[in-house]
C-alpha cells in the first residue's frame, strides 16, 4: 500500500498509515486480495517445506517400512502444518478473484473470468486439500498397518502432483484472455508465460507412471524444473497484479451508491479503456 493516493501528510507510525489506508484507500479491496495472496504463498511455503517436509516430496519408490518411518518422523509437523493449511486454505479465493477481476478489465467476454474462477476454485480440492487430509489421516494414528500408510502416501502425493488439467486449462484461459485483450491490462509476454506454465502441467504427467528417475513425482524434471518455472510464474503474476492495481484509477470520489448517474459509475467500475 504505497502512497499512490493523496495521503494526508501525517507523521504517524507505519501502523497508523496502514490504518489510514484501510479506511480511505479507494483500492483497499484490491490490495486486500493482493496482500492475502502474498501472505498465503509465504505461509504455504513455510508449511510445505520446513514444517511438514511434504516438499520437496519424499521418494515414490519407498517400501512400506520406510513410508511408515517417514510418517513417524513427521507426525507432529504434518498435523500442525496441515492444521494451518486447513485454517487458511480459503485464502486462495482472493487470488482467484483478483485474477478473474483482471480478466473483467480486459476487452474479452465474461466467459473468461468465470471459467478461470470456477476452475481454480475447484483445483484447491484435489490439488491441495486432499493431500492434507490424507497425510493427516496417515499421521493421525500411530501403529497403522504400513501397507495402508503406503496407500495414503501414494494417494496424497499423486493427487497433489498429478492434478494437472485444471491448471493446464486455467492457464490457457488466462493466456487467451491476455492475448485477445485490447485494453493492455497485462503485457503480452506474460500471456506467453502462461503457456510455459501450462506446458509444465504436461511435463508432470509421467509422475503417474514412474516410481523413480527424473520423471517421478520428486524427479529432477517433473518436480525441480517445474517448480522453478512455477516460482517464476508466480512471481511474475504477483508483480503483474500489483501493477494492475497501481494503474487502477478510481480517484477518491464518492462510493458508487451515492452517485446518481449510473453511466458515470459504470465507467468508473468497468474502467474499460476506449
Amino acid at each position: 500500500m504505497t502512497g499512490e493516493t493523496a495521503e494526508p501528510a501525517r507523521s504517524g507510525s507505519p501502523l497508523t498509515r496502514i490504518a489510514w489506508h484501510c479506511r480511505n484507500n479507494p483500492k483497499r479491496e484490491l490490495w486486500f486480495a493482493w496482500y492475502t495472496t502474498v501472505i498465503f504463498y509465504n505461509i504455504f511455503f513455510i508449511v510445505f517445506f520446513p514444517v511438514t517436509h511434504a516438499q520437496p516430496p519424499p521418494h515414490p519408490y519407498w517400501s512400506d517400512a520406510l513410508v511408515a518411518n517417514w510418517f513417524g518422523h513427521n507426525r507432529g509437523g504434518l498435523l500442525i502444518g496441515f492444521g494451518i493449511i486447513f485454517t487458511i486454505a480459503g485464502a486462495t479465493a482472493p487470488q482467484n478473484a483478483l485474477i478473474a477481476y483482471s480478466m473483467r478489465r480486459m476487452s474479452v467476454s465474461r466467459v473468461f473470468p468465470y471459467a478461470y474462477l470456477v476452475m481454480y476454485s475447484l483445483s484447491a480440492i484435489p490439488g491441495l486439500l486432499l493431500l492434507c487430509v490424507v497425510l493427516s489421516v496417515g499421521a493421525l494414528r500411530p501403529g497403522r498397518d504400513p501397507a495402508q500408510l503406503h496407500w495414503l502416501y501414494d494417494f496424497g502425493f499423486l493427487s497433489y502432483t498429478g492434478t494437472m488439467g485444471i491448471f493446464l486449462i486455467g492457464s490457457l484461459v488466462w493466456m487467451l484472455a491476455i492475448l485477445l485483450d485490447k485494453n493492455r491490462v497485462m503485457p503480452k509476454w506474460f500471456g506467453y508465460l502462461n503457456l510455459c506454465n501450462a506446458l509444465t502441467e504436461v511435463v508432470v504427467a509421467p509422475a503417474w507412471i514412474f516410481h523413480a528417475g527424473v520423471f517421478a513425482w520428486n524427479g529432477l524434471i517433473s518436480w525441480w524444473v517445474d517448480m522453478v518455472v512455477f516460482g517464476i510464474y508466480t512471481g511474475a503474476f504477483l508483480m503483474q497484479l500489483r501493477n494492475l492495481i497501481r494503474r487502477e484509477d478510481f480517484g477518491d470520489g464518492p462510493l458508487p451508491g451515492l452517485v446518481k448517474k449510473p453511466e458515470a459509475m459504470a465507467a468508473t467500475l468497468a474502467g474499460t479503456a476506449p
Binding site: L78, G90, P94, A97, Y101, I125, S136, L140, F250, M265
Partner: protein
C-alpha cells in the same frame, strides 16, 4: 415476476434442506454420541457391522449427500447481497463465489468415505478403520472455505457504506465469531482424546453448532433483505446496476 420472487423461492428451500439435515444428523448413529477416534479396530468394525446401525448409516449418508449441495443456493443469495453493497469492485463477491463450491464438495468427499465404509462392512476391520478415519478427518477439517467465506462477509460489511448497510454491523461480528469457532477443528488430528479430538467439545460441538447457527442466521438476514427489496417496489436499486455483473 420480480427478481426477488425467484430468490424467495430459493430461500424457502432452506427449511426443506434443514429438515433433511436434522433428520440425517439424528439418523446417523455416530453423531448424537460422536464416535471416538480412540475406538479400536474391532469396535469400529462392529459399529458398521451392527445390522441396526448399518441401514441408519446408509440412509443418513444418502440424505447428507442431498443436503450438502442444497446449501449452494443460500451461498448464491448471499453473493447477490454482497453485490448490492457499495464496493468499487466485484472482488468480494468473486471471493465468495470461489468459496461456495469448496465447502459442500469436501463434505461430499467425507460422505463418500462413510458410505464406502458401510458398503462392505464384512471387510478387514483395519480397512474399515481407514475409511472411518478418512471420513471423520475430511468431515472435521472441512473448514477452510467456511472460515474464509465468513471472513469475506465480515470484510464486505466493513467496506460497505456506513450510512446504508446491506447487512447490519452485528452480522459482521457474528461471522468473525463463527470463523473463530471453526479454527480448532482444523487441528483435530493432534489429539485422539479430550476436547480437541474429533468427537471433543471444540472440533465437534462448537464447530457444528457454529455452522448450524451460521446457516440459520445468514438465511434469516438474507431473507429479511430480500423481503425488503421486494417491498421497495420494482424500481431497481441505484447501487445494483454497476456492481451486478
Amino acid at each position: 415476476m420480480r427478481r426477488a420472487d425467484g430468490e424467495l423461492i430459493l430461500l424457502w428451500t432452506m427449511p426443506v434442506v434443514a429438515v433433511i439435515w436434522i433428520s440425517a444428523f439424528f439418523l446417523f448413529p455416530g453423531f448424537a454420541h460422536p464416535m471416538s477416534p480412540s475406538m479400536t479396530a474391532a469396535q469400529v468394525a462392529a459399529f458398521y457391522r451392527d445390522p441396526a446401525h448399518l441401514s441408519r448409516i446408509r440412509y443418513s449418508m444418502i440424505l447428507f449427500n442431498w443436503f450438502a449441495p442444497g446449501l449452494i443456493p443460500l451461498l448464491m443469495l448471499i453473493v447477490m447481497q454482497v453485490r448490492r453493497m457499495a464496493h468499487r469492485t466485484p472482488i468480494l463477491s468473486y471471493c465468495l463465489l470461489a468459496c461456495s463450491a469448496g465447502g459442500p464438495a469436501i463434505f461430499l468427499i467425507a460422505d463418500v468415505f462413510w458410505l464406502l465404509a458401510a458398503f462392505q462392512p464384512a471387510r478387514d476391520p483395519q480397512l474399515t478403520v481407514l475409511f472411518n478415519d478418512l471420513a471423520w478427518m475430511t468431515f472435521t477439517t472441512a473448514v477452510p472455505f467456511l472460515i474464509a467465506q465468513s471472513l469475506f462477509i465480515a470484510l464486505a460489511i466493513y467496506l460497505d457504506r456506513p450510512g446504508r448497510l446491506v447487512f447490519r454491523r452485528w452480522v459482521a461480528f457474528f461471522n468473525i465469531a463463527v470463523a473463530a469457532a471453526l479454527v480448532p477443528a482444523a487441528f483435530t488430528g493432534l489429539a485422539l482424546t479430550g476436547p480437541m479430538a474429533w468427537n471433543g467439545l471444540l472440533p465437534f460441538w462448537v464447530k457444528n453448532i457454529a455452522i448450524a447457527a451460521w446457516i440459520v442466521v445468514m438465511s434469516v438476514v438474507t431473507g429479511q433483505n430480500i423481503y425488503r427489496e421486494r417491498s421497495e417496489g420494482s424500481a431497481p436499486q441505484a447501487a445494483e446496476a454497476p456492481v451486478a455483473a
